[in-house]
């Protein structure tokens, strides 16, 4: 399975994602922001980082680059797309997932392990978890507070993927820290599953995100 890893100036989790894709038997390939044709890929991951220095708003400038046209084509072909951290902010700015990830409630960058609940298993990235399962993954963001004025629609349509358990570190509405599009194939999560994919790093709870994507 061939997976495109999107790189913008300022992406910095691209190599971590490449490494973890290898662990689950996928072939990762880096794709630069100015590529438009992504048709050879079976899935796409937009990794974390600080694309374009987070200027204007996190993800805003990446959201208008040519590679986004390619990603929209991939989505039309019903292939899975995962955005992690800055990748999640980009997917929200593009409008491929609803809502926005904005400045944390305490206005600080937060980098710590958190527990979160898997709220839906209909996404390719969460299909190997149990609904309601609590998992542990790290967060690392300054603009991760999820906001959506239409929160009831989001819940009615089963578009909440992850929400914090026992703590709401960034002030997200209802602790939501992962959302998906209507059919679940486009998934945007603020926590880093690629940093929680080997037990030596403190948790391998995240690897099922990538395993679930394989042969979906």
């Amino acid at each position: 399975m061939k997976v495109g890893i999107i790189r913008f100036p300022g992406s910095n989790c691209d190599r971590d994602v490449f490494h973890v894709l290898g662990l689950v038997g996928c072939e990762g390939e880096y794709i630069w922001w100015n590529q438009r044709d992504l048709s050879k890929f079976d899935a796409i991951v937009i990794p974390g980082g600080f694309s374009y220095g987070d200027y204007l708003r996190a993800g805003a400038i990446a959201a208008i680059t040519p590679v986004i046209d390619g990603i929209k084509e991939v989505v039309k072909e019903d292939k899975p797309v995962l955005g992690i951290c800055n990748g999640a902010q980009i997917l929200a700015e593009v409008g491929l997932v609803p809502g926005v990830f904005t400045l944390n409630e305490n206005a600080q960058f937060i980098c710590k392990w958190e527990e979160m609940e898997v709220k839906t298993t209909r996404s390719p990235f969460t299909r190997l978890y149990k609904k309601g399962e609590t998992i542990k993954m790290p967060i690392a963001h300054g603009e991760g507070r999820y906001y959506n004025p239409h929160i009831d629609d989001l819940k009615d349509q089963d578009q909440v993927v992850l929400s914090f358990v026992g703590n709401n570190p960034n002030g997200s509405i209802e602790g939501i820290t992962g959302v998906c599009d209507l059919d679940g194939r486009v998934c945007a999560v603020m926590p880093h599953p690629e940093r929680a994919s080997e037990s030596i790093l403190g948790s391998d709870d995240g690897i099922k995100f990538f395993k679930g994507m394989v042969n979906y």
Binding site: L56, R57, A60, I61, I64, E93, G99, V100, T102, L103, N104, E105, N106, A107, R145, Y147, N148, P149, G171
Partner: protein, 84 residues
């Protein structure tokens, strides 16, 4: 004709503004007790356009396509003729 444009981007009413609350708390440390602190971002540039209306229309498109996120932002555009 050349126009100077200014876009003032602010959070919609009722949106949490953590930057403003931090500034307000810092001002209190200096014994300035203020209320309703808000922050806004300003982007300025010059552009060529046939008329002030055309200039404003183009800047409005820029706001919708890049400069603002309609979910959380309001914006105000000022356009004046001239080089600086």
């Amino acid at each position: 004709m050349k126009y100077q444009a200014e876009v003032r981007i602010s959070l919609k009413k009722g949106m949490l503004n953590p930057e403003a609350s931090t500034i307000q708390r810092a001002l209190a440390l200096l014994n300035y007790h203020v209320e309703d602190t808000k922050t806004a971002e300003t982007v300025t540039f010059s552009l060529e356009a046939k008329s002030p209306e055309d200039a404003r229309e183009e800047v409005d498109q820029m706001c919708q396509r890049l400069l603002c996120n309609p979910i959380i932002h309001d914006y105000h555009i000022t356009v004046i003729p001239g080089d600086e």
